[in-house]
């Protein structure tokens, strides 16, 4: 039997917006009963329309927000986020946020960001901590001179890589990545995806990978879930989902992929000239 690292049963999340003098309080169900299972060392990719509840699901899995209903089970243990989560479990489950800027402390240098988890969780000497942080910086395609810089001094894609590096420094068992490579050009994207694949091979890391980029999903995923308005409308092995999509939205999604062939470009330019 393979180990199940992550399981959810009918996870639900409601958001209630505060009512005002003239407005009634309103409840929106952002996630409508998601059940999933991820085995150790595997990658589940989640795709879906913007606003369909992917980040909300990610925040429940990583115990940042408690679910409105349903069960979250990590390593066979039922977790009750609302009642408090042990530091050990917190370390085990990490998230790379969709908005890396918002998750970095503006007053903390990048080197310190990366070394901090080692201070809290291990008794490594300072020189070793520094060495490991430097190594990680290089692995995500940044350079030693970036060590002493603050978050605002980086480009969008560089910040995204810092967020990935920080999550990896904690040696998580389960890593949830919310659009982690959306701002990276292909050269860096390949480097980061290869790094994630290597770490998975070496340490059996388990990933939940949220992405809009279908070619990336196709490359990285073992299983794929397609979400639509808070529900899982498709869930299966990568090959099944890609070769035989069942739901209308999935079909639309695959059909909307941009066309890069010369004929399509020519046709578009002709339309533009005609309209001008």
């Amino acid at each position: 039997m393979s180990e199940i690292v992550l399981e959810t049963r009918n996870l639900v999340r409601d958001y209630t917006t505060a009512g005002g003098m003239f407005r009634q309080a309103k409840t929106v169900r952002a996630v409508k009963g998601i059940s999933l299972k991820v085995e150790k060392g595997k990658t589940l990719a989640i795709v879906g329309e913007s606003g369909c509840g992917k980040s909300t699901l990610a925040r429940m899995i990583t115990m940042i927000d408690p679910p409105t209903a349903g069960d979250l089970i990590i390593d066979g243990q039922k977790v009750d986020t609302a009642k408090g989560v042990s530091p050990e479990l917190r370390r085990k489950v990490q998230i790379v946020f969709q908005n890396p800027y918002g998750s970095l402390n503006p007053r903390q240098k990048i080197g310190d960001v990366l070394m901090e988890p080692l201070i809290i969780n291990s008794d490594l000497p300072a020189s070793e901590r520094r060495h490991r942080a430097m190594e990680m910086l290089k692995k995500v395609g940044l350079a030693p001179e970036h060590f002493n810089r603050y978050p605002h001094m980086f480009s969008g894609g560089q910040r995204q890589r810092i967020a990935i590096a920080r999550a990896l420094m904690l040696n998580p068992r389960l890593l949830v990545l919310d659009e982690p490579v959306s701002a990276l050009d292909l050269s860096v994207q390949a480097q980061v995806l290869n790094l994630l694949a290597d770490l998975q091979d070496e340490f059996g890391l388990t990933y939940v990978f949220i992405s809009h980029d279908l070619s990336v999903v196709r490359y990285i995923a073992d299983e794929v879930m397609v979400m639509y308005f808070g529900e899982a409308v498709e869930y299966g092995t990568r090959d099944d989902v890609f070769s035989n999509p069942q739901h209308e939205y999935t079909k639309t999604l695959f059909a909307a992929t941009p066309r890069t062939d010369v004929e399509s470009i020519r046709a578009r330019l002709a339309r533009k000239t005609a309209a001008a």
Binding site: E49, S50, N99, N148, Q158, S182, Q189, N194, P258, T260
Partner: protein, 284 residues
Amino acid sequence: MALLEIKNLCLTFDTVGGKLKAVDGISLHVDRGEVLAIVGESGSGKSVSMLAVMGLLPWTATITADYIRFDGKDILNLSPSDRRKIIGKDIGMIFQEPMASLNPCFTVGFQIEETLRQHTDLDRAARRRRAVELFRMVGIPNTEDRLSSYPHQMSGGQCQRVMIAMALACNPKLLIADEPTTALDVTIQKQILELLVNLQIETGMAMILITHDMGVVAETADRVAVQYKGRRVEESDVLSLFESPKHPYTRALLSALPENATGDRLPSVSDYFLEEEAVTGGAA
């Protein structure tokens, strides 16, 4: 005459570790009704050069250029108040990190209406109508409700569409779009790109589009500039670029797509350089 013309832009940041050169002599121009796409590596200075045009860099930045001209006016030496009249009205910008670029303390509706208040003569009711119209254009459902949401109550892609709506609010002559669809799934990306292209044809709006997604380039651009290692390595019309890319980095961008992965490793750009060097004997 070009709508925006930049000649020899250089940009340095003062940091505790000394001076840091972020942009080293970039020139570009874009005409009315034209879409210029800029593609290039992460960290190659794409965003900061556009922020320089907008006058939005921190004080640690030193900007020099032979000139930055917009609509015939030199905006490099414009007084801050004259510049504010152009920025946000004649030039709109979609920022790269939408969730970090919206003000967390105000509702998104207030932020759009505030932009309209500063730059147009619309009265309160007309501003509200325009805000509703903009939200519909970018495909945000339940428009009336959504206008009273705060940024943290919206998803990443919803925030990105709010940014797009704000940038378009005053019918800009030039739209600078910095990775405008990174948080959108391909179905909504398609709607947004169509919206931008149509506006562009209808109003003659010029657009500078920064992206790393060659699919987005193929579906929108007229002309493409490719930056690599801080330099401009290639510039051509979009058809020629896809038909016969010249620089190895461009060729790599076009072929290093994950769908071309062989085995379980992704080809990286340097793999392509090595391959090309093997073929050309290092002449690339």
